[in-house]
Amino acid sequence: MRKLLLQSLIRPILTEKRPAPSQDALRQLAGEVGAAARRRLGRSLSIRAVDAGSCNDAELEIHALNNAFYDVERFGIRFVASPRHADVLLVTGPVTRNMAQALERTWNAMPDPKWLVAVGDDAADGGVFAGSYACEGGVGAVLPVDLVIPGDPPSPKALLEGLLALLERADRG
């Protein structure tokens, strides 16, 4: 283990440069956040992720945000276990009817100010699952969405660009 740790010290770091915030996300978020919210957020975002029936692809890429290449915590973005601690609810999946109630309860448990980000094409409008008896057809059908990060699934870079846009808007107020 010592050798591995030592190597980590002398090897060049893998973490990549900060990508620019997504322009599309900035447009979606134009003028969303007030000064009070900015004071509360400071320069960080706490995120609670909820899988509302995704096919687990978006979860894989959200997990990747924590690997050495993207290292999302350096931007003050971190994932928290409780909705009580969260500023942002990150929702994946087309919102299955079996998950709709749990999703709403999670949202209601979050303190204001709060934002809702829908991740992936299925969370946007149901995607390939649109029209099923078992799906609501996207997060927007159940809760008010602030930002959609599209993709099938969105890559970690796309996720990061979207979250940075949210952070920038929140920061500028």
């Binding site: 909820v50 096919c55 894989l60 299955t96 749990a102 390939v128 099923s132 078992a134």
Partner: protein, 505 residues
């Protein structure tokens, strides 16, 4: 009517079914098959509804390549329960009842499974009836005794994982019973499959469980090809196997890191996470998508592998070969980590065999079944690889199966790149103007994925069933965690890594 005999089961063979024999049997032979499952002569591969009939796929336990589909018509909306004799069928029968309204007679458990009373409709794939959508009560199995208490967990979990509900009955720190309630991610994929074109259907298949996008698309494509009587070109077979092994690599690397992380050893997660990311990036540059989704279609593949792609994969193999052994040694030599994984969450070989558990779960408990060997589908029949099998059945054994499979996949990828044939990428899918049925099983990273389908005369899907390996692994997690401490549940759960989405469908 000509009758045919398959391993002592007698029935009328269905001509239009390909990939394995299908027999239409009577109730007596249906029950004889259930008895053979119960005695261990057969293993259950799947059990699903289809309008007014039920089908079960079985193979001879000692000859895994010897498979058949047995079908029973249910004119009265009921069929003799297989679960009564063979427990692995119980949840499948509950799902059949929810989706089709077909009742398993004398079944030991008639509680709903996928239907939580939220769809606004009952039996959506059978005789659909409108219903209230305000949610059903669910009765968990009782556990009684002095000093017991209950810990309910989920469906929203603390981490970034899929939703499911776990109910622990514990005595102090020790888990006395775990009962899972699943179905939260039920998206109605099999409903969406009805009437779908082959293009849309293979896209849906690729969205059943995102971590197995390749395995599902491959299983679907092979089932459709079996039905239509066509074979993909040799180059397509090779590229498909390349994608399948790359998918296995990415998932196993991620799982090895994540299991160790659940034992609070995050160093492994960090290093394995780097290798996983490199694998996904190589997949993107070689095949155009990090999860290699949408590349496999009935008839072949949609994208060729160019020179840069080959170079990216070769570089990946070299990188993993250089880094991985040190990580394996780290795992093996860290006593605090071994203390958590060795002898934790033991799954007895007898149970793994009875439930026909596939993937690392089965192979860590002595069950050697691997669809790549059992069916030797192209191009695996020509490739040299061994299937690692351990007997201990604990978390440690499940890690070691994955370690050995990473090594095997690296070797397979090298063999595939070294023997990549030239030629076309796809065979033309031509309409055959008659209904056809097909079945295929492929080995995903989690275990064997089964796809059965019936195509109409127009070539569209009439019925498609996709069976995730998790169906036969989730119940075993409940058995493996019994007698362990609550704090070891995440470790046990991650070492199984069952799919919620693939199971709930």
């Amino acid at each position: 009517m000509t009758q045919r005999d398959w391993r002592g089961i007698s029935g009328r063979p269905v001509e239009r079914h390909h990939g394995a024999p299908r027999l239409e049997v009577d109730a007596e032979n249906w029950l004889a098959a259930a008895s053979a499952l119960s005695s261990g002569r057969f293993s259950l591969l799947g059990l699903w509804g289809d309008g007014g009939a039920v089908h079960m796929a079985v193979h001879v336990q000692d000859e895994p390549g010897d498979m058949a589909v047995l079908s029973l018509a249910c004119p009265d909306g009921a069929f003799p329960s297989v679960g009564r004799l063979h427990a692995p069928a119980i949840r499948l029968e509950r799902a059949i009842r929810d989706l089709f309204g077909l009742v398993p007679e004398d079944a030991p458990d008639l509680r709903p499974w996928l239907d939580h009373g939220r769809w606004g409709v009952r039996h959506p794939l059978g005789r659909a009836e409108p219903a209230a959508a305000d949610g059903d009560d669910y009765r968990f199995l009782p556990a009684e005794g002095e000093g017991l208490h209950v810990i309910p967990v989920g469906p929203v979990h603390a981490g970034i994982i899929e939703p499911g509900h776990f109910r622990f009955t514990v005595n102090g720190e020790t888990v006395v019973r775990l009962e899972a309630r699943l179905g939260y991610t039920h998206k109605g994929v099999e409903g969406l499959m009805r009437g779908a074109s082959l293009d849309r259907a293979v896209r849906l298949a690729g969205h059943v469980s995102g971590d197995s996008a390749v395995a599902y698309a491959l299983a679907f494509a092979r089932a459709a090809e079996a039905a239509l009587g066509l074979d993909a070109p040799a180059r397509a077979h090779h590229l498909r196997a390349l994608m399948a092994e790359t998918e296995r690599l990415a998932n196993h690397l991620g799982d090895i890191g994540a299991i160790c992380n659940d034992a609070a050893f995050s160093l492994m997660l960090a290093h394995c996470g780097v290798l996983r990311e490199r694998t996904l990036r190589a997949a993107e540059s070689a095949f155009g998508h990090r999860l290699m989704r949408g590349r496999i279609v009935p008839g072949g593949v949609t994208a060729d592998l160019a020179g840069e792609g080959v170079a990216a994969i070769r570089a990946l193999v070299a990188e993993i070969r250089a880094q991985f052994p040190a990580l394996v040694a780290l795992y093996d030599n860290t006593t605090s980590l071994q203390d958590r994984t060795v002898a934790t969450g033991v799954l007895k070989p007898e149970l793994a065999r009875r439930f026909a558990a596939g993937g690392p779960v089965g192979r860590a408990s002595g069950r050697s079944f691997d669809a790549r060997k059992a069916f030797a589908y192209a191009p695996y029949g020509r490739l040299a690889f061994s299937v690692p099998v351990f007997e201990e059945g604990d978390v440690n054994a499940r890690i070691w199966v994955r370690v050995r499979e990473v090594e095997a996949s690296l070797s397979l990828i090298e063999q595939l790149l070294g023997s990549l044939p030239e030629g076309p990428l796809d065979a033309r899918v031509a309409p055959v103007n008659e209904p056809r049925e097909g079945i295929a099983i492929v080995e995903g990273f989690r275990g064997d994925v089964l796809v059965w389908l019936r195509l109409g005369a127009d070539g569209d899907v009439e019925r498609c069933h996709l069976r995730d390996p998790s169906w036969f692994q989730w119940p075993l997690l409940e058995a493996a965690v019994e007698g362990n401490i609550v704090a070891d549940f995440p470790l046990c759960n991650k070492s199984f890594n069952c799919s919620y989405s693939g199971h709930d469908l």
